[in-house]
């Protein structure tokens, strides 16, 4: 519907023009492209290079139509409708033009259909069947080209199959703005290549495999693994981050083979997926998945059956209640659960009087902030301000909206504080209150403020200009949750109320012997909680720790009881996106035998504890109601990230985020090992000079708590403040949180050994 006229200037929507297509009268807004006008009467004009989101390029010439009064056939993709235009999309002349173009395409196209990933969903196959001539008049040998060019960690190019529609190149120019793909050479030798012979590295590479109308660009994770007619498709929401992109899941033999974007999803994904959401699916079938409850006995894991496991959990809770009361019980997690599960977890515990509940395991303070501005609103902002870690690493596809707003709609991008937005579009990075005020200027227009939800020292002062905006300025606020369903978990009750303890306080209480049972539901605080030692001490000191997870994670290692649970591909329910909308999650595969969903466990546990949980339909209504309820003021206690300068030549630490970090679904996905973020130490050029370090140097990072992280790579970046070092959070082999909260560190160059 709206997709039918995307090339239209919204201002001209009122004005309609009337034309005829194959004798049918069509009325469409002025400025509509013929190819889109035809869709309104369900006439499909074939296209290769044209794409709704990329616009016309006029390269492939397959979209030929005849227009009365024009001597030559015209391309429908770059023809704007006009009043009285008479268009013919099917007649002998048009058909012959299409036949000719297809003949040209097939001259040198390899006969790969039987082994090509695209076979069965290939536009070249389909159009050739519809309009092609069946045999080739060229009797000379086809031109041969390399058939498996490794473009980068994710994509392989078959140059022979490429029809040079340049969709991939234009995606990388127009949508991501990264410009790492281009055409090389010319004439019949024209090929797709990376800009500088470097690998094709981007967080959005997978989209080009979908845009590619033929089987030239293939994903390493899917190459030669299946044919489309053997796949079974389900449509769900991605649960890797809080954008919640609509996503098709293709499964075969109970294995998730690939995920695909949903072209109609204008509201959230804008029809794209990031590579984390797209490619991080291999973990579902990883052989390290847990399939039986594990009980730690004398330091070793023993498999036990579900009934015993659940009984034990219930008993421990009952015992704690009896011995010390609900204050001696806590639960952490929810941000990686479904809405329903988070609500059940909160409901169950509150029914027992437990208030020590928290979904936050990182540095984030607040998620739900009362704003329901959506992605399309962001696209229409005039001034976009980012505060905190870059959106590209917390909500990747949202960042494409920022790029769109800036590059196409002329929005200004301002980043404030320690972090640049780093968004492949021009930005103004400011670090002082006056700088921000200046950058915003007198006429900000519509403002969008994107924040990572972390309170930091000096934050209120830095952002004072936000209170001085011209009267009636519309400000849309976005907080990017650290976990995919952080917003849902918070709204649904996984947040301490009254005297309840938050995550950090729970660990401290546990360390001091004040907790008896700690249930960690789909969370990995040992890797993600800012003070690893505290988390570990707390877990060690708690008499009974239950962890639900797919794998034996860093946190699960500290548990007494580990319960194997379903991934989001194996259960159904809903999740809440960063804009506060409830999105459907639809399971596509059966869980491994013996694995339950967190929700099922909670139901079983409630039964054993005599707690009545809401029935499914009540549950759904309650989720929707709570998610839409703005939080009460002051409901959210704050932890503040200290930014005080480190003493005596040591560097203060800025925590960087990257989408390919984490210990759970990522660490246990071997198929995309190459994508795992390499831990870095970003420093200012002045710092680099002072320490005699250069970009690419290996360094060790020695913390003031006696912990050292080994073999990080130096990145010299002028946007990092002097006296600071930005280190990547959430890397299993060099965990930032091991340095403790607000550490002061020294960088030590790793001596090069011969």
């Amino acid at each position: 519907m709206s997709a039918a006229v995307p090339q239209t200037d919204p201002a001209s929507h009122a004005e309609l023009v009337t034309l005829s297509i194959d004798g049918v009268e069509v009325r469409v807004p002025k400025g509509t492209l013929l190819v889109e006008a035809a869709k309104t009467i369900h006439t499909d004009i074939p296209v290769y290079c044209y794409h709704e989101k990329l616009g016309p390029a006029g390269l492939c010439r397959i979209c030929l139509v005849e227009i009365d009064g024009m001597p030559k056939l015209q391309i429908a993709c770059n023809t704007v409708v006009a009043d009285g235009m008479k268009v013919h999309t099917r007649n002998p002349r048009v058909d012959d033009g299409r036949r000719a173009i297809l003949e040209f395409f097939l001259l040198n196209h390899p006969l790969d259909c039987p082994i090509c990933d695209k076979g069965g969903e290939c536009d070249l196959q389909d159009y050739a069947m519809a309009w092609g001539s069946g045999s080739s008049r060229m009797i000379d040998p086809k031109t041969s080209k390399p058939k498996a060019v490794d473009l980068g960690p994710t994509i392989v190019l078959d140059e022979e199959r490429c029809i040079v529609c340049q969709r991939c190149v234009r995606f990388d120019q127009i949508i991501t703005r990264e410009e790492s793909l281009r055409t090389e050479d010319r004439a019949v030798q024209t090929i797709i290549a990376t800009a500088t012979g470097k690998p094709y590295v981007s967080d959005f590479t997978g989209n080009v495999t979908e845009l590619c109308p033929v089987g030239a660009l293939t994903s390493k994770t899917y190459r030669f693994r299946s044919r489309p007619w053997d796949n079974h498709r389900t449509t769900t929401s991605c649960t890797q981050c809080s954008v919640g992109c609509r996503m098709h899941v293709d499964e075969r033999g109970n294995t998730v083979l690939r995920t695909m974007s949903v072209p109609e999803d204008d509201a959230l994904s804008d029809s794209w997926l990031c590579d984390r959401g797209r490619y991080n699916v291999g973990f579902v079938n990883d052989e390290r998945r847990l399939t039986m409850p594990l009980l730690k006995q004398d330091g070793a894991w023993v498999q036990i059956d579900w009934a015993d496991a659940l009984d034990l959990w219930a008993e421990k809770i009952k015992a704690a209640l009896a011995a010390g009361g609900p204050e001696r019980i806590g639960a952490i997690g929810g941000g990686r659960l479904l809405n329903e599960e988070a609500l059940l977890a909160a409901h169950l515990h509150r029914a027992l009087g437990v208030e020590n509940l928290d979904h936050r395991i990182g540095t984030q303070t607040l998620v739900h902030h009362g704003s329901f501005a959506n992605h399309v609103d962001l696209e229409n902002a005039n001034t976009i301000i980012t505060l905190g870690r870059p959106p590209s690493q917390l909500a990747p596809v949202l960042d494409l909206r920022i790029r769109k707003a800036v590059s196409r709609n002329g929005a200004r991008l301002i980043s404030a504080g320690d972090y640049a937005a780093d968004s492949f579009v021009p930005e103004t990075h400011v670090t002082t209150p006056a700088g921000l005020k200046d950058a915003i200027g007198a006429n900000p227009g519509r403002v969008a403020m994107i924040w990572d939800g972390v309170f930091f020292e000096g934050g209120p002062e830095l952002t004072a200009a936000m209170h001085d905006l011209p009267a009636a300025t519309r400000v849309d606020r976005y907080v990017l949750p650290e976990t995919p369903n952080g917003r849902g978990a918070e709204a649904l009750g996984m947040i301490p109320r009254g005297a309840g303890l938050g995550t950090g306080a729970m660990f401290a209480a546990a360390r001091d012997g004040k907790l008896d049972v700690l249930s960690i539901l789909g969370a990995n605080p040992v890797l993600r909680y800012p003070d690893r030692a505290l988390a570990e001490d707390g877990l060690r000191a708690t008499p009974f720790v239950v962890v639900t997870d797919l794998f034996l994670t860093e946190t699960a290692e500290f548990a007494n009881l580990v319960l194997p649970v379903c991934s989001a591909f194996e259960k159904s329910g809903t999740t809440t996106d960063l804009a506060g909308d409830v999105l459907p999650v639809v399971g596509s595969v059966r869980p491994p035998d013996g694995v339950l969903a967190d929700g099922d466990l909670l139901v079983e546990l409630a039964e054993r504890l005599g707690v009545t949980l809401p029935m499914p339909d009540e549950l759904e209504a309650k989720v929707r109601e709570l998610v839409k309820t703005p939080p009460a003021d002051g409901a959210v206690p704050a932890y503040v990230r200290a930014t005080a300068a480190a003493p005596g030549g040591a560097l203060r630490v800025i925590a960087d985020a990257a989408i390919f970090t984490g210990g759970g679904t990522l660490a246990f996905d071997t198929a995309i090992r190459e994508l795992h973020a390499r831990p870095h130490a970003r420093i200012n050029p002045a710092t680099a000079r002072a320490l005699a370090l250069a970009d690419g140097d290996p360094v060790n990072v020695a913390g003031d708590n006696g912990t050292t992280l080994y073999d990080l790579v130096v990145r010299v970046d002028e946007r990092v403040a002097e006296g600071a070092v930005a280190l990547l959070d959430g890397v299993v082999r060099a965990p930032l949180n091991a340095l403790g909260r607000a550490p002061a560190v020294r960088l030590e160059k790793v001596p090069v050994t011969a």
């Binding site: 492939c60 040209f104 040198n108 009797i139 000379d140 031109t143 004439a187 030798q189």
Partner: protein, 428 residues
């Protein structure tokens, strides 16, 4: 040899005077018309003069120059004038000569044109291979700058007119005006999708006029002598003078400046000295490599834009290539096809794939592997790729090939029947 036909305007003084020196050029009245335009006339006055002359573009398409200028949006703040000196059309060597011999005339023409369209920054895009011409232009621009004819405050008028020379890297496609603009911006030399046309969205996205060297070089003379002086020469809708590059099987190849309306026969026989003794005329390409071959029955066609089009070819860049009876038209066709196929930017399907297909087929025919169906397949392939391309290069593949394959099919058939195979070689 009759020289009465030859009417030197742009070519006047070449070979006699060192017009590369600004002083010499000024002695001939040079830069006086630029001064007059800038100091005495409004841009509109100058545009009106150009319009009145009915000057048509000498770059290939023959588009009326004044009309082209009039497409620029009236309210545009920035406009660019770009002079196309990429001259790579096979057989064309007029701009090359003008560049090396009369750089100041080109500068003056460009600046007058720039002034007329309200542009304060003009560019000249020079084909990469014209290294000497580039150096000459560079020195001439310095002289003009020193004299205060370009740069800030020209002729003390307070007006600014910047001038930038850009050297290409030797791709035919960069002569196509939008390929040129991309290249000038530092991008791949690929033609742009139109619309939007350069007049609306050209260099750096701003309204732009691209004109050929020769087109612009006529402006000072049209200014000096008045528009009627130009308009009354030759046919009404295709008037004025033209530098014609004549090459191939003639006794005196070279550039000849003549009034449009001179016949093809006069050009070949009276200007270029006719064919070598004992040879027979077999055909002529009247407008560069992109034009269809004309034959004996066309010798009396008037050499002007409309008449040559009516005869089934085009005047194009104004380059005649003459073929006598020693010509191997299969090799001639192959050479041109190989050129177009090699120079295709590769963006669009018919040109990229079709040209290559025909090239491979001709290669096989020349190598002795031809089959009977080849002739029809070549004709059909060339025909079906025409009119479907993004730019005019693709449409340049068919005309010469189709015209000679129709006329001299026997030569193609002879190759197909011939054994043993002759070697693939360059054309005549």
């Amino acid at each position: 040899m009759s020289t009465t036909l030859i009417t030197p305007v742009l070519t006047k003084g070449i070979g006699e005077l060192n017009l590369r020196e600004i002083a010499v050029y000024r002695e001939q009245g040079g830069y006086e018309q630029l001064r007059r335009a800038v100091v005495e006339l409004s841009p509109k006055d100058v545009a009106d003069i150009c319009n009145g002359s009915n000057l048509r573009g000498r770059g290939g398409a023959g588009f009326p120059t004044g009309r082209k200028w009039s497409f620029l949006p009236k309210d545009a703040k920035t406009r660019y004038m770009v002079c196309n000196c990429d001259e790579a059309e096979p057989g064309t060597f007029k701009d090359h000569m003008l560049l090396e011999e009369t750089p100041h005339q080109i500068i003056e023409g460009i600046l007058i044109g720039a002034y007329a369209i309200g542009c304060d920054h003009a560019y000249i895009y020079i084909r990469g291979e014209f290294k000497r011409g580039y150096e000459i232009m560079r020195d001439a621009v310095q002289q003009a700058r020193d004299a205060g004819f370009l740069g800030e405050n020209i002729f003390g008028s307070g007006k600014k007119l910047e001038f930038t020379i850009h050297r290409g890297a030797g791709a035919y496609i960069c002569g196509e005006e939008t390929g040129l603009l991309n290249s000038l911006e530092g991008k791949r030399g690929e033609p742009r999708l139109k619309p939007p046309f350069p007049a609306i969205k050209g260099l750096y996205g701003e309204p732009t006029v691209v004109n050929n060297v020769e087109t612009l070089a006529y402006l000072p003379y049209i200014m000096r002598n008045g528009p009627e002086w130009f308009a009354k020469v030759g046919p009404e809708r295709s008037p004025g003078y033209k530098v014609v590059s004549i090459s191939g099987h003639v006794v005196k190849p070279g550039n000849y400046e003549v009034p449009l309306g001179t016949t093809i026969r006069q050009l070949i026989y009276d200007c270029a000295g006719g064919l070598r003794p004992g040879r027979t005329f077999m055909g002529v390409q009247p407008g560069g490599g992109s034009s269809a071959c004309l034959f004996e029955e066309h010798l009396d066609v008037s050499y002007d834009f409309d008449s040559v089009t009516k005869a089934g070819s085009m005047l194009g860049s104004g380059a005649m290539v003459v073929f006598d009876d020693t010509t191997d038209f299969v090799k001639a066709a192959y050479t041109l096809i190989r050129f177009f196929s090699h120079e295709s930017c590769g963006q669009c399907t018919p040109c990229r794939e079709g040209g290559h297909w025909i090239q491979k087929t001709l290669e096989r025919i020349l190598a002795g592997g031809g089959v009977d169906s080849d002739v029809d397949v070549i004709k059909s392939a060339a025909h079906q790729l025409t009119g479907l391309n993004l730019c005019a290069l693709g449409d340049s593949i068919e005309p010469f090939l189709a015209s000679v394959i129709t006329r001299y099919e026997d030569q193609f058939r002879a190759y197909i029947k011939r054994t043993p195979a002759p070697a693939v070689g360059a054309a005549s």
